[in-house]
Amino acid sequence: MKRSKIILSLILSIVMAISLLAGCGGNETTTTTAAPADTTTTTAAPDDTDETTTGDEGGDGYAGDLTLMHFSTSEESEGNGGSDGFRTVIAQWEEANPDITLKQTVLANDEYKTQVATLASAGDLPDVFLLQGMNTKSWAEQGLIMDMTDVIKDSPHYADYNQAYFTPFTDGDKLYGLPVLTGGTCTVIVYDKAAWAEAGFEEFPKTWDEVKEANEYFTANGYKESIAFGNSGKWQMNSCFLSTLGDRFTGPEWFQSIIDKGGAAFTDEPFVEALDYTGMLFQSGVFNDDFNAINNEDAREYYISGETPAFIGGNWDVSYIGATLLETDPELYENTGFAVLPQPEGATGSENSQNIGLGYAVAINSKLAEDEAKLAAAIDLAYYVTGPEFASYVAENYALGGLTQVSNVDLSAFDQFTQDFYNYSYVDTNACEIYDSYVSPAVWDVLNTELQNLTNGDTDGATVAQLTQEAYEANY
């Protein structure tokens, strides 16, 4: 009994040694014997009975593997219209291109980012993947991603593209990706219209002074605070607050100059004012006292449970709040309204701005240039998943918009909550930029960390601005 175990172990170690040697001798292109369970392993049999119905720009000239990485997990697609639409159109494309074996690697967003960063470092990116705006410049410089300027101009859907969505994926006059998934706001105030009416505000206050006034009413009437916010993940303060509040102080030209390295600095007076104002607001008691210890998922529960009469978050929070309230508290669902951030005193920018955009774009590995047929297939896939099929799917099912604009979205089939949010996102407000879709991740990591110190009252705006500027100069 024991001896057989030992022999087994010895055999295994020999097998290991052999595989080690074999592995060393092998080259970089390795094929696996295990068939991926997630991807439909369509046999690449040469039958062209099933002519492609969609996107036949050149996709049918190629037979073989095409690797694709994204983060639309099946969990993500439940309730997230963009992901659902993305998975749907990928499946459609696969079906229309039976000669191509689409090898998908689907990971949750955090893990996706880690793996893509690793693959980029090793120069080993998949054929097609989703590019984050803030990596565009650095990866373009390194030659990792293909220049898609002409590809985009030649797109059959070019006329319908919302040009504003391309800016994060632009370097100079070159474009590096087709913005993907759905455009959604990153900063929205979700509020209980009834509660605020009781506090004397028929609609959400237009100034922060009025919010503070309301806060006195709320704290005297059983609420702990007026607005719930969660920032324990550190990115929330940047994406879902400062990005918009900063725009109110600096205006869009300042941030454009930061992107273009046109002379603007984080230490410029208006931005420092925005930082100090943010610090002051979070110290004022308007927000929940544990905003730096909980994340947005906890904070929105304060709103859902009725503990707090308003919440600040992004479109992903709105879809969760909507779906939950519909089941648990239809009355609050009916009473929920959406508002832009109130205007800070002394701010001179647009009063009606909110940051909206598409954070990711379909990018193509620059190595594909060597294989024309494969490249044509990749481009066809990129057109398809960002094209009208996707746009109509998310518009009809979720009242969301993507890169390709669909005319005549019929909102009447949707309820008030959905209509209101659609109008907030795409119609009634001015768009401003999402800071962390641009520049460099190194800058935002420093700023985000310092924002926690700032909102805790442990540092001041000038210091935060200084540290951010140093990271900007060193990394961008």
Partner: protein
Amino acid sequence: MLTRRPPLRILIGYLLIPLALYVFAVFIPLITAAFYSMFEWKGGPNKTFTGIANYIALIQDKIFWLSFSHNLYLILLCVIGQVGVAFVFVMMINTRFVKLKSIHRTFGFFPSTIAAVYVGFIWLMIYDSRRGILNWFLELIGREDLTQVWLNNTDLVMTLVSIPLIWQYIGYYMLILLSATSSIDKEIFESAELDGANAFQRSIHIVLPMIKNTVIVCLVLCVSGNMKAFDNIYVMTAGGPGNNSMVLAMYGYKVSFAQQNMGYGSAISVGIFVLGLLVIGGMQLVSNKLSKD
């Protein structure tokens, strides 16, 4: 040590495969990292050789040294809390006064098998300021003045994130120490004529020297493990508020991935490795001194 050494070819035969594998998976990546640490490298094919510039930056990097001080604090707490408490528990289990021995032996190990996310969740609910158990308990005993947003307290946060880590790994060291005491005659623990206090003292005096080597292994495991501490703290605070609970491994990860500064991130990894060696070396010096005295 054996007096008669086995033939060299047998030794080589036994050591070759394990060590070759070890060098391949552990040392070559480390050497690769040391190589990359000499470059400015933003993650991609382009690298610029900068010599020791990254290391100069590292020496001046306040966050790196702040993180190191957090690691040292964590090590101190965990040596006492994990290995120390585990040793006491093992001694207690081995006396005849403690009942349900097999249950304690079996259950204790369980927390170290659960992913950090879930341990983090449970402790977040203990510390949570509104729904948390700690504040609820303080209110219950009438000390509402002590309730606070625990994980936002910059002075306390390192201690608070250490507690789950300590609790989670007590059973791990218990298991190791129990296996070591299993080679010791049971009667040492269970002599019927002794009362509790004396039995306990006696086990420490007699047992500790007998399992000294395993205790040292535990200490080395504990120190090296806490030099690399990452998951639990990442889940609970992500190093926040600000950098008040930042630790070395998390900082290295953040620089490499969140900031995509692979060159500097590699320098940080090498720095962690060197500091780890220094800490372990220092620990061995101290323990040699102590055992000589």
